[in-house]
């Protein structure tokens, strides 16, 4: 009886494996096709040949380079501001104000319900004040980007904070005479490092992919730059798009490999690029 089920089991496993691989191959092809098409388009030369002019142009187009620089700076600023605002607040709420937790959670998840296109309609007049006081740089987008990132970052940091018994640790530290700052910097932060990193990466990914708000508020970021370039030089814009996609993928993959290996023996899910339960409206899509 056992032998029969074993053979049946092996047959089933083979069928399952075949099915698995066919799904992977089919969907893999579906997703790789546009990337291939982008590669083909951006290397099209006159008369059917191949050329790298569009790719070389990336380094020469000053407007585009400025937009890329602005986006990179924005992503760092957003991540930093978000972490500075969110992590101390959430830690404090965990440790001292558990009753406010629900409110914080509601506020952090609220941006999920306000699509970016609606947010920008409401924020246009506010931004005339922001640029009035802070000047006219794309970096002022940091504030609204932090709002966009809140739901994802909240979930990441929340799962990190809940995974550790903060109360006991902080009480122990306090009873040994540590100030709240020391508790935060030397007890809490080291324990939520991966959650913080995850939240930071999410911010970077989101900011680099954001188009809606930047375009309707008339700022030149990476995506807006690509869209504008697309109107006058299709090859260049596709080359930049492909480069951005591939770079982002490589970056995420490296981080996921690196983070996974650091965990070592612990059988924990590798660094999640998007927290599971609340990966809601992809803001840039």
């Amino acid at each position: 009886m056992a032998a029969v089920t074993a053979v049946a089991g092996a047959g089933r496993r083979r069928r399952t494996a075949a099915l698995r691989w066919s799904v992977l191959v089919l969907l893999g092809a579906f997703f790789l096709l546009p990337l291939l098409a982008m590669l083909d388009f951006s290397t099209k030369g006159p008369g059917g040949g191949r050329t790298l002019t569009a790719w070389r142009e990336i380094g020469r187009d000053t407007e585009l380079l400025r937009a890329i620089a602005a986006s990179l700076e924005l992503s760092v600023l957003t991540a930093v501001l978000m972490l500075v605002l969110l992590v101390p607040t959430m830690t404090w709420v965990h440790l001292r104000l558990p009753r406010v937790r629900r409110l914080i959670e509601a506020l952090c998840l609220l941006p999920l319900v306000i699509p970016a296109i609606v947010l920008v309609v409401g924020i246009a007049s506010l931004y005339s004040w922001v640029t009035y006081y802070l000047g006219d740089s794309p970096l002022t987008l940091t504030f609204v980007y932090v709002v966009l990132v809140l739901p994802y970052a909240y979930r990441a940091v929340e799962s990190g904070l809940s995974a550790v018994d903060l109360k006991t640790l902080s009480e122990a530290a306090r009873s040994l005479g540590a100030s709240w700052t020391t508790v935060f910097l030397r007890v809490v932060l080291p324990n939520v490092r991966s959650a913080v990193l995850s939240a930071g990466l999410l911010s970077v990914a989101l900011v680099l992919g954001e188009f809606t708000i930047a375009s309707l508020l008339n700022f030149q970021t990476l995506q807006v730059g690509i869209a504008l370039t697309g109107k006058r030089d299709a090859g260049l814009s596709i080359a930049v798009s492909l480069a951005a996609l591939v770079l982002a993928f490589v970056l995420l993959l490296l981080v996921s490999l690196f983070a996974g290996r650091r965990r070592g023996a612990r059988a924990v899910e590798p660094l999640q690029t998007v927290p599971p339960a609340a990966a809601a409206p992809a803001v840039s899509g």
């Binding site: 409110l103 506020l107 007049s125 005339s128 009035y132 006219d136 504008l228 109107k231 299709a234």
Partner: protein, 383 residues
């Protein structure tokens, strides 16, 4: 869902109250006064109505060079040779020109002016279609260039708030290698043009698109007073599956995305020249549906670089500027005067695309009426 505990609710209420109070406060920020230069020349330039008022051309040039920068908007390099116009101006006066949103529409220019009011990025000068200019006269500063008298009276606002700059006729550009030659507007409804016809912009926002609809109206039995037939034409075009909701640009024409384009004869002709050898781009102005129109120049009342803005106007209406536009197949507004004076670029003039038939030019009243009709009906027609 559990109700928020009391302290949190109170806190939440407080937060919402703060937000509501700030939301009910006034809308936009006060516009920062744009006179960053406290020097007399800067302040004078912002209200100067002519070069003479500033002390002559030399004084104007000096003031503009002191400002050192100029913001222009919605000037594609291939549009009546603006690329060369900008670079010639930069070389001649050493003033850095920042060209924003080259593919923007006339409405985009006004939006930018409103949104960026008081900042250094606000556009200094505009190149607009008449309906948009007429609707936004309050944003412009009156200025009369030295050659102001050369422009016909019906082609300018008397105090110089907006002045026609170059004109052309509406045309159909098409890729002769991909589609059969259309002889009339109605031809484009045929199945050979499925998914191939594009209009350069939204007619409620862009001048080229606006006049494209007028041409369609003339070609479908309408008139300058009644463009409803034009809107109906595009509605039929959409239903037939021939209409592309894509803004054509040199990139889309070169890549074959938009094989048939409603656009000015000068832009289409520029593409013919540019793509010779790659794409057989031909231009036709359908007889019986000849629509002509001029664009207008205007100076932003709150321009961040008022002297440079005025110098730019002087440059554009000088023989150099007008001939550069002519080189880009535009018909400069001073053509008659320049022909009389013998300063026109004869070779370029002879290269202008031919036009047969009586052209129709919309009056201000007709433009305004057409604009109103479009705003009420365009979205419905093509959605």
């Amino acid at each position: 869902m559990t109700v928020l505990p009391r302290p949190a609710r109170r806190l939440g209420l407080a937060v919402a109250l703060v937000a509501a109070l700030t939301a009910s406060a006034c809308g936009n920020a006060p516009s920062r006064s744009s006179s960053t230069s406290s020097s007399g020349a800067g302040a004078g330039a912002a209200t100067a109505t002519s070069a003479a008022a500033l002390g002559g051309m030399e004084a104007l040039i000096a003031a503009a060079k002191k400002e050192g920068a100029l913001n222009v908007i919605a000037l594609p390099p291939d549009w009546t040779n603006y690329g060369e116009v900008i670079s010639t101006f930069e070389k001649q006066y050493g003033i850095k020109v920042t060209s924003a949103q080259p593919d923007g529409s006339s409405q985009d220019e006004i939006n930018a002016a409103n949104q960026l009011k008081g900042t250094d990025r606000a556009p200094d000068v505009f190149d607009l279609s008449s309906p948009v200019a007429i609707a936004n006269v309050d944003l412009f500063a009156p200025y009369q260039v030295t050659t102001f008298a050369d422009v016909r009276a019906d082609l300018k606002e008397p105090s110089g708030k907006y002045v026609s700059d170059y004109g052309g006729f509406m045309s159909i550009g098409y890729d002769a290698g991909k589609v059969p030659a259309p002889t009339s507007v109605a031809d484009l409804l045929k199945p050979e043009y499925k998914g191939k016809v594009a209009l350069n912009g939204d007619p409620t926002q862009a001048g080229a698109a606006f006049n494209g609809v007028v041409m369609a109206a003339l070609g479908s039995g309408g008139s300058a007073d009644d463009i409803s037939k034009g809107v109906d034409f595009f509605s039929q075009l959409k239903k037939a599956g021939n209409f592309l909701p894509v803004d054509p640009s040199p990139a889309t024409i070169a890549s074959g995305q938009t094989p048939v384009v409603f656009d000015w004869d000068y832009t289409n002709a520029a593409q013919t020249a540019k793509l010779a050898g790659n794409v057989d781009w031909k231009v036709v102005v359908p007889s019986g549906a000849v629509v002509g129109s001029y664009y207008v120049q205007a100076i932003n009342k709150d321009a961040p670089h008022p002297a440079a803005a005025r110098l730019w106007q002087e440059f554009l209406y000088s023989d150099t500027g007008q001939n550069l536009w002519l080189k880009g197949f535009g018909r400069p507004v001073r053509a008659e005067a320049m022909q009389k004076a013998g300063t026109i670029d004869k070779a370029a003039f002879d290269k202008l695309p031919p036009v047969s038939g009586t052209p129709v030019f919309l009056t201000e009243a007709q433009s305004a009426a057409a604009n109103t009709y479009l705003k009420a009906n365009w979205a419905k027609a093509v959605s």
